[in-house]
Symmetry: none
Subunit: 355 residues, 2 copies
């Protein structure tokens, strides 16, 4: 029922390798010896110092009329057989042989035989700071009006991704169409879009810091080092990341970051006031232009009447002013920590793009 | 053609979430509103302070006759639908929601619906500090002699895992058999086994620290906070983790950790001497019993003639003595960082189990 059949495997020397036999029987063709296959087989086995055996010689018989493809990676020849407007392509099953032969022979053959009438491409917008349903509300009107594009919205703990797919007769036209839709979506979603495709938030932030020649330091409480870890995933981050303090315990906040004990007593470790001081002090003691801080209750323990699990205060100081943010995040301990870290990175991105 | 279908995803609020619509159409069922789902949705969105939107309300319509499963982790209810001796189970696609709901609801349901005649169980030994082939060499003789068990050896960037599987008519017999093999393997592999099943290295280390009433602090260079982040994944880690310093830049090593500039000049930032001082100083300035440090070249840049990418020095100081380790690790930047962090955690585990 199919017009094109592609088989892999069953071309070897053993008893259970019967692909060519079955094809020949199904199409009522004879198996004939292909001298170029025999030559290649002998050359190949000689190279790896193995004697030609009788079972090997079985491999040089292919269905008559087949266009043989010599396999320089092994002993089994591949083939493409056209008959009665149907095509059968057989390739060896050994992974690297199959992969190489298909890339070098089958794909070019199919592209020439069936020139694609349409080129299909996708692009993904990466969004942070908005939930999945908010993204949907914002872009629904636009999406519903489109006929040339298909859309997918994907949520993961780190961000929301909107994938646009389209097709056109040429690559150039596809790219142009795709860019059109990406521009429209970016216009609607504004600064919530931080990048496209494989770009990560930490990479985008790193590039902004590099361009603006600014250095950053972190003071982390509930995230325990996650913000520093994420920033330093990027090769070359030493150009803009100075380091920081993991002030998990109040004593570390007091001694290393010089947060006055009375401030901690009065407002609590998880407070706007402490976050503010942490950002200001880490900026100074790590000799950076910007200090960022995170202090929160990741849970499951640590909550009080007024401060619930998921409460996180963060701050960004540039020496002139200090911005603060308060979030009530949800999810388990690790999700609260991850979301805090992403919010802090996004706070930094917003600061750098507004400047 | 299948008797049981399990779907995940497509239960969200957006236009492309159509799992329930498709199931209803395929089985010729109406979609009806489930009040308990609506109640849960409103409660959940209220908790995270998001307004109920029209697209959210779509989520409370399920095929009629479905046994609804309320999702306390998100907005999308799951369901189990029995019809004409076939079963369809639909669960949300958000990983943590799916995982929790399947463990709590689907697995118990299937166990009751299809009670097994033999009880099959597996246990996994987690091994660190040995490579896959070394583990294989050590246990091969034992494995080859066994007939009641099947074994799998799995390598991942964090550790090596040996999984033992066996079955018996009752749960008690299965457990007994399994424990027998686990004991034998643990005897062969010794202290390289750090835990079983879902136990993580950071959890094992945390329990040791808690039992011994010891506190730890970290000084991290190339790992940028990863060691602190990993230790603080464990709820209650504030009992034994004080915090630390991310001394990414040399200035931070000098100013916050008081590593003398001349030591850095003489030996370099990535050296035994600097690792030693980092561990000793962070121990003191963070008021902990133990200080651990990591300094290395994660790459791709930063290598010199003598110091290649993957060179990592680490140290552990307890105030009386300082242990050091030097590793030449392989893999890309993130793998070198991950492996460094695991080695440091294992150094701490070895120290705590020997004491």
């Amino acid at each position: 029922r199919s017009d094109l059949i592609i088989t892999t495997g069953g071309l070897g020397p053993t008893e259970d390798d019967i692909t060519y036999q079955i094809i020949a029987r199904a199409l009522n063709l004879k198996l004939i010896k292909y001298p170029e296959a025999e030559e290649n087989l002998k050359k190949f086995l000689n190279k790896i110092k193995i004697k030609v055996s009788l079972s090997n010689l079985k491999q040089v018989y292919l269905p008559e009329g087949a266009k043989i493809i010599i396999n320089q990676y092994g002993t089994a020849p591949a083939m493409i057989l056209e008959k009665d407007n149907k095509i059968i392509c057989s390739f060896p099953g050994v992974p690297h042989e199959m992969k190489n032969l298909i890339e070098e022979n089958l794909i070019p053959y199919l592209k020439e035989k069936f020139p694609p009438s349409m080129i299909k491409k996708s692009k993904t917008l990466k969004i942070t700071g908005l939930g999945e349903s908010s993204v949907n509300e914002l872009i629904r009107n636009y999406i519903n009006k489109q006929t040339n594009f298909s859309f997918g919205i994907y949520a993961n703990p780190e961000d929301i991704q909107v994938q646009v797919t389209t097709q056109a007769p040429t690559e150039k036209e596809t790219d142009k169409l795709l860019q059109l839709s990406v521009n429209q979506l970016t216009k609607i979603l504004g600064n919530y879009v931080y990048g496209t495709d494989k770009q990560s938030l930490e990479e985008v932030v790193g590039n902004l810091l590099k361009t603006k020649k600014l250095k950053v330091a972190v003071a982390e409480s509930c995230t325990g080092g996650m913000l520093g870890e994420m920033i330093t995933r990027i090769p070359g981050s030493s150009k803009y990341f100075q380091g920081g303090v993991i002030s998990y315990n109040a004593k570390v906040k007091e001694d290393l970051l010089k947060v006055p004990p009375e401030v901690i007593r009065k407002y609590g470790e998880v407070s706007k006031e402490v976050a503010q001081l942490m950002a200001e002090r880490v900026r100074r003691c790590c000799h950076s232009n910007i200090g960022i801080s995170i202090t929160g209750i990741a849970g499951p323990g640590g909550a009080t009447e007024k401060k619930k699990v998921g409460l996180v205060h963060m701050a960004l100081s540039d020496g002139k002013k200090t911005i603060t943010q308060k979030h009530q995040l949800f999810g388990n301990r690790q999700l609260v920590r991850l979301r805090s870290t992403r919010r802090a990175l996004n706070m930094l991105r917003m600061y750098l793009t507004k400047k």
